[in-house]
Symmetry: C3
Subunit: 158 residues, 3 copies
C-alpha cells in the first residue's frame, strides 16, 4: 500500500515515516520519532519524541508510545493502551529522564493494557486486555490481570 | 431536543443518525454505522463501521464502539470505555472478522471498563468502573474486577 | 514560562487560566473551569464545567477532570486517567448532580487510573498505574490494584 498521512494528522518534519505506512486522523508524531515501513497508526494515536517503531506494527485507536519506548517489528498495540515512561512521576520533576521500555518482535498488547515504565516485553509475548504490567514479560509468555501475572501463552486452536 | 452534529465531528454520509441525537466535538461516525434517536455522543467518541446503537444511548467522552458491536436501547457507556472486536489480535491478520458483541437494553457500562471481543452483556446488567469483562454478563447482573467476576447487582437505596 | 494556549485547544471564555499555564493541542476547557498558575495540560486533555485545578498541576495526554473534581496544588495526573462524577450512572438521568471528588496537594495519580465518583485522595497520596480507586485514600498512602487496596507509600531510595 502507498504511504498515507491523513490531512488531520500532525507529523513533525524531523520524524521518519517508512514506506507504506498509514497515519490516520488526528494522529500525532513528535520530533525525531522513527516509524518503520507498512505500519498503521489509527485515529488519535501518538508517537512521542524519539520513540521508535519497527516495520509492520499496528497502533489502534487512542493508543500511543511515549519517549523511551521501542517497538520491534510486527508488534500489535490494541486501542487505548498506555505506556508509562516515568518510574517516579510527580508534578514538578526537573530531573526527569525517560525509562527505556521495549517490546519484542511479534508481541501483542491487547486493548487498554498499561505498561509501566522500564518494562521489557519479549518477542511473541502477549498482554491481555486491561492488564497492568509492572515487570518484564519473557518471550512467548502471557501477562494477565492487575497487577499482571505471567502465565504460559495459550494458543487458540483455531 | 433537535438533532445536533458539531462542526468538528466527522459523520460518514452513509451512517444513519436518528432524530434528536447529539454528536459532539471531534466525534467520528464511520460508514454504515446506525445510531438511534435521542442518543448522545460526547467529545472524542467514535462509532465503527457498521456498528449499531439503539435509541436513547449515551457514549461518554473518549469511548467508542467498534465494528461488530450492537447496543440496545438506553445503554449507558461511561468515559474511556474500550470494546474489543478481535479475539486473536496480531499485527498482521489477513483473516480478520470482527466478533459479535452485544449489550442489552438499559445496561450500564461504567468508566474505563474493557469489554472483550464477543461478550454478551444482558439487559439491565452493570459493569463496574475499570472492570475487564472477558465472559458474558447475564441480564441484571453486576461485573466487577479484573478479570471481572459476576455478582448480583446491588441497587442503591436512594 | 509565559502562558500558552495552543491554537487547536478550545478554552471557553468564562474559564480562568492562571499565569504561566500551558494548554496543548486539542485540549478542551469548559465553561467556568478554574485552572491555577504554571499548570500543564497536555494534548487531548479536558477540564469539565466548573472543575478546579490548583497551581503547578500536570494533566498528561488524554486525561481529564470532570465537573465536581477539585485538584489541589502540584497534583500530577498521568496519561489516560479517568475521573467519574456520577455514583449511579444510567442513560437517562434527569436528577444528575455531580459527586464531589477532591485530590490533595502533591498527590500523584499514575497512568490510566480510574477514580470513582466522590472519592477523596489525600495530600501526597499516590495511585498506582491502572488502579481503580473506589474509596478514599488517606494522605500519604498508596492505592494499588482493582479494586484498589490502600498500602503505605513506599518511597524509592533514589
Amino acid at each position: 500500500m502507498p504511504t498515507y498521512i491523513d490531512p488531520t494528522a500532525e507529523v513533525d518534519p524531523s520524524a521518519t515515516i517508512g514506506e507504506g505506512t498509514r497515519v490516520w486522523g488526528h494522529a500525532y508524531v513528535a520530533p525525531n520519532a522513527s516509524i518503520g515501513r507498512n505500519c498503521m497508526l489509527a485515529r488519535n494515536t501518538h508517537v512521542g519524541k524519539g520513540a521508535v517503531m519497527g516495520d509492520g506494527c499496528k497502533l489502534q485507536d487512542g493508543s500511543g508510545i511515549t519517549t523511551g519506548v521501542t517497538l520491534g517489528n510486527y508488534v500489535f498495540v490494541g486501542p487505548n493502551v498506555t505506556f508509562c515512561n516515568d518510574p517516579d512521576p510527580r508534578a514538578s520533576n526537573t530531573n526527569f529522564a525517560p525509562a527505556i521500555t521495549s517490546v519484542g518482535d511479534g508481541a501483542v498488547i491487547c486493548a487498554a493494557a498499561v505498561i509501566d515504565a522500564g518494562v521489557t516485553i519479549g518477542e511473541g509475548a502477549k498482554v491481555a486486555p486491561g492488564a497492568v504490567v509492572c515487570r518484564n514479560v519473557p518471550a512467548g509468555m502471557f501477562a494477565v490481570g492487575n497487577p499482571a501475572r505471567i502465565l504460559p501463552r495459550m494458543e487458540r486452536a483455531s
